[in-house]
Symmetry: C2
Subunit: 343 residues, 2 copies
Amino acid sequence: MARIAVVAGDGIGPEVVAQARKVLDAVLPDVQATEYDLGAARWHRTGEVLPDSVLTELAGHDAILLGAVGDPTVPPGVLERGLLLKLRFAFDQYVNLRPSRLWPGVAGPLGNVKPGEVDLVVVREGTEGLYAGAGGSLHRDTPAEVATEESLNTRHGVERVIRDAFARASRRERRKVTLVHKTNVLTHAGSLWARTFDAVAAEHPDIETEYQHVDAAAMFLVTQPQRYDVVVTDNLFGDILTDIAAAVTGGIGLAASGCINPEGAYPSMFEPVHGSAPDIAGQGIADPVAAVLSAALLLEQLGHSESAARVNAAVAAELASRVPGVTLRTEEVGDRLAAHAVA
Amino acid sequence: MARIAVVAGDGIGPEVVAQARKVLDAVLPDVQATEYDLGAARWHRTGEVLPDSVLTELAGHDAILLGAVGDPTVPPGVLERGLLLKLRFAFDQYVNLRPSRLWPGVAGPLGNVKPGEVDLVVVREGTEGLYAGAGGSLHRDTPAEVATEESLNTRHGVERVIRDAFARASRRERRKVTLVHKTNVLTHAGSLWARTFDAVAAEHPDIETEYQHVDAAAMFLVTQPQRYDVVVTDNLFGDILTDIAAAVTGGIGLAASGCINPEGAYPSMFEPVHGSAPDIAGQGIADPVAAVLSAALLLEQLGHSESAARVNAAVAAELASRVPGVTLRTEEVGDRLAAHAVA
Ligand SMILES: CC(C)[C@H](C(=O)O)[C@@H](O)C(=O)O
Ligand SMILES: CC(C)[C@H](C(=O)O)[C@@H](O)C(=O)O
């Protein structure tokens, strides 16, 4: 039995999560889902972001499926720091996994890249760096104001995510890992990342490695996304690079992510990269593919590789059959995907 | 008379700088150029990066024209921190100006973007943020190692670069400024940037404004680069975004930059965004356009707007006339540009 906590959230969150659940129910016989009401709506109603009791309950699940939280009227940081990052940190989800594929049938924005040619995964560190919340300010709202943000990096945190990246690469066909950082400017953290990378690489002589500065990687993701297999990088760089990777493979409507605690000491969390998209919420036209692909990552993490593969195959068929210009209906896509995944 | 310090540097640096000087000599009658030997070659030979005496001499010039410095055998940070960033900080070059245009004749990588449609300028902060060099490490090379990098942001530093961005927008046709930051995670620095932006915006009711998170901006630079006019952002975000902007407008072979001290208290510095490209150095095939466009920014900064416009027109003609597949010769391109700029 898989005990899944479902945080549908705001905007299109509930619409796409409903489809992901349809697909999960189709491929796994014994999903026990519990819904948690978290996000902008709850915050507006009650002022609560993530009560401790809810955090404790969430910890008792095998995985969390999240739609999207937020709306433009919530002040920046409230839900990000109080809910999303809180969960990533509390559940030690140090592997933020973001695969990008240019699926056959999807028209990407790059003229010279053909479907099937891009198949990369970014292993983004999820519990350190500039996301640590180590910042502050003095003399606020005066001409003397100073504000700081500190990037905290530990050998412990860096090594474990790099090890995860190499482990993933060794299970993939191309067996290549690219480290992305900015060692020429961020010399202290950069050196820690580079030395740790080299040490782990030495244990994997069969895996090809390369290093790129983050600015160069941002450029190459646009000009030659085909060159990447596994990319490992820090929390903030990973945030930016994965949106570029999503953009060149057809947009965040298709981008899945997993916030993973590989040891399973805590539940991992799976969510589409897209946000709550208030502009199209309630119209039934959001693309549920990113949520469904996130559910596939969830299945993979819980050991149901075969079910995950069937969901991915359903998505591949769905995308290959899309006719440009035809508006999709969220529900119908979910129905098709669920049907295909069990066929 | 314009006193220009020339740092040709390493690799293709001298090759492209020679063309930029040709063009400068053609449009300005009285350029007095002094060459400074700085970069990887000098470091290998003497161990010196930037002697104090050279820094003092550079300060006596009206502007600095730089080619590219570095080679793969110099440890990361030596030339970046010791030379490039040292100059940006010592000369208070707080406006790092990086225009991107998709020039007619240039085939960008984006299928749905036509030449002429992209014309943006990133105003990247140049003297603060994560580039401040405020980091350190403890327990190096042990399992307990921790490394930090601190982003330092002052109202002083943030306000002056935002003011510069609005001033530039008010001289452009579309009159729009986009602030890019990550206010939802970097809440302290983000709040300083956002409040300062709003305060300056209130003084410019005629200028359209928008805010985007850096991950969203990275994505939109790929999917809709046409939407940007002036983008203002911090030092690290600007580093990454300008490489994306370069990628979508034909590559860093065409990307110019100026490290500007707008008040003229210190010399400003102009350099192509590309590096020393050791792989093609010495072959006479480097594209000098980025260096020549950097020279145009230099002319603009020194008040020679008309000459700058002529150089830009020469570049436009050059790019429009290029035949795909024909290898360009650095010297010949320089000759053509110089001839066209005076015609
Ligand atoms: C919402 C925000 C905190 C988050 C992040 O920056 O990690 C988002 O951009 C993402 O990529 O998941
Ligand atoms: C070489 C490096 C220090 C520099 C930077 O990061 O600013 C470069 O990438 C640039 O963009 O000018």
